[in-house]
């Protein structure tokens, strides 16, 4: 981390970047923070902890208010995938993003259940092997449809409609969210329209989810959301060989007005 702090400080001093977004450790608490020339001393608190926040999403909020600036970001595996998706969706076009790649250690990879705990370009840290515990996914895929439906309806009945999964998701950027459409998800009812609410999110995640797991982490009802989105990612890969977060040049088949797909009976 010391090297990253030095490099970031140097970049800020030289004017290579106007601001640096990362995670800080202060009083035992991990939180996102932003450093400019005005508060360089804050860089001392920079950390790459077990805890995560959607730095990509925070970056879009900073980008909107500060067009034309150069912004440095500490990116770990998940952050890089999120930024790739946000760039694809033209959410970061107003700023120039300078990525400082940090690889996660094995402990963090295990805690996050992360298949790719490193960015494509690593500036700091040692690459640790990916982790992919998919026991729940495998178990559910082996159940009968009736048992699966019972399982999911039971899970969805716990939903308190906090919108946490949507709020924390790094690739959920829409200003007018379908989950708030009164025709699809009527207001004033908890649990929300079942299974419509979760179905909508899952369909939107199919070609956007970067498998960071923040949705499942923040869900107050412990609904295994990541498992659904992992299944959708697998489906997109099997049907179209499309993987969200892999490369900014990729185009989602569900968005691109071109051939593909087939008749299914």
């Amino acid at each position: 981390m010391e090297e990253l702090k030095k490099k970031a400080k140097q970049a800020l001093d030289e004017g290579k970047i106007d601001g640096f977004l990362g995670l800080k450790l202060e009083g035992g608490e991990v939180s996102p923070f932003f450093v400019t020339k005005d508060n360089l001393a804050e860089l001392e608190k920079l950390t790459a902890p077990d805890g995560r926040y959607s730095l990509g999403k925070i970056l879009t909020r900073i980008a909107v208010k500060n067009p034309g600036k150069n912004i440095g970001v500490m990116v770990r595996g998940c952050d890089e995938r999120a930024i790739i998706e946000l760039v694809k969706a033209s959410q970061l076009g107003t700023v120039k993003v300078e990525q400082y790649g940090v690889a996660c250690n094995a402990k963090t990879a295990e805690k996050c259940n992360c298949p790719q705990p490193f960015p494509s370009h690593i500036d700091f840290g040692e690459k640790a092997p990916g982790v992919e515990h998919i026991e729940l996914l495998t178990r559910l895929e082996g159940l009968t449809p009736e048992a699966r439906l019972d399982y999911w309806l039971g899970q969805f009945s716990k939903c308190i409609k906090c919108y946490g999964c949507r709020n924390i998701c790094p690739v959920c950027y829409c200003k007018e969210c379908t989950l708030e459409d009164k025709n699809l998800v009527p207001g004033g009812i908890v649990p929300p329209a079942t299974p419509v609410f979760h179905f909508i999110k899952a369909m939107h995640m199919a070609d956007r989810c970067i498998d960071c797991g923040l949705c499942e982490e923040t869900c107050p009802s412990n609904i295994p959301l990541r498992t659904i989105y992992r299944h959708m990612r697998k489906a997109m890969h099997d049907l179209f060989e499309y993987v969200p977060g892999r490369a900014a040049e990729d185009k989602s088949p569900l968005g691109a007005l071109e051939e593909g797909g087939r008749l299914v009976h």
Partner: protein, 135 residues
């Protein structure tokens, strides 16, 4: 070009979920859960997620308002508090202490809620007191 996160506690119910208020250029613009908080463990309910909204809302009251001739008009604090005191006294004296009920709020401090309780029981003379978290 200023962004910072401020650790705080959700002002709504008694749960006390840990959260960060996002402050951009001096304005409170968003909320994030505290991911490793021992109580909330990274979750927030819908009220918590939107705790930042009332802060800069144009609908916020900035001055006391007193109804005069059926219309809410700006008044001084002295006038407003005086009106509340005189009216509560009038209702209590005219209809008895149990005609008054008091509802306190999770947005108040424990000390403020204690004062409300004392005011209700000792001054107004009724035990019709409850708290919004009980609803």
């Amino acid at each position: 070009m200023d962004y910072k996160t401020v650790l705080t506690v959700c002002p709504y119910c008694g749960c006390g979920c840990g959260m960060y208020l996002e402050v951009m250029d001096g304005k409170v613009t968003g909320t994030l859960p505290s991911m490793n908080h021992p109580i909330s463990e990274g979750s927030l309910c819908i009220k918590g997620w939107n705790a930042h909204e009332p802060v800069h809302s144009p609908k916020r009251l900035t001055k006391p308002l007193v109804k005069k001739d059926g219309k809410l008009t700006e008044a001084s604090w002295d006038e407003a508090i005086g009106k509340v005191a005189s009216e509560l006294t009038r209702v209590r004296d005219q209809y008895g202490p149990n005609s008054v009920a008091v509802l306190t709020s999770a947005k108040c401090t424990n000390e403020e809620n204690y004062l409300m309780m004392k005011l209700t029981r000792a001054v107004i003379g009724t035990n019709n007191i409850d708290h919004c978290a009980r609803l």
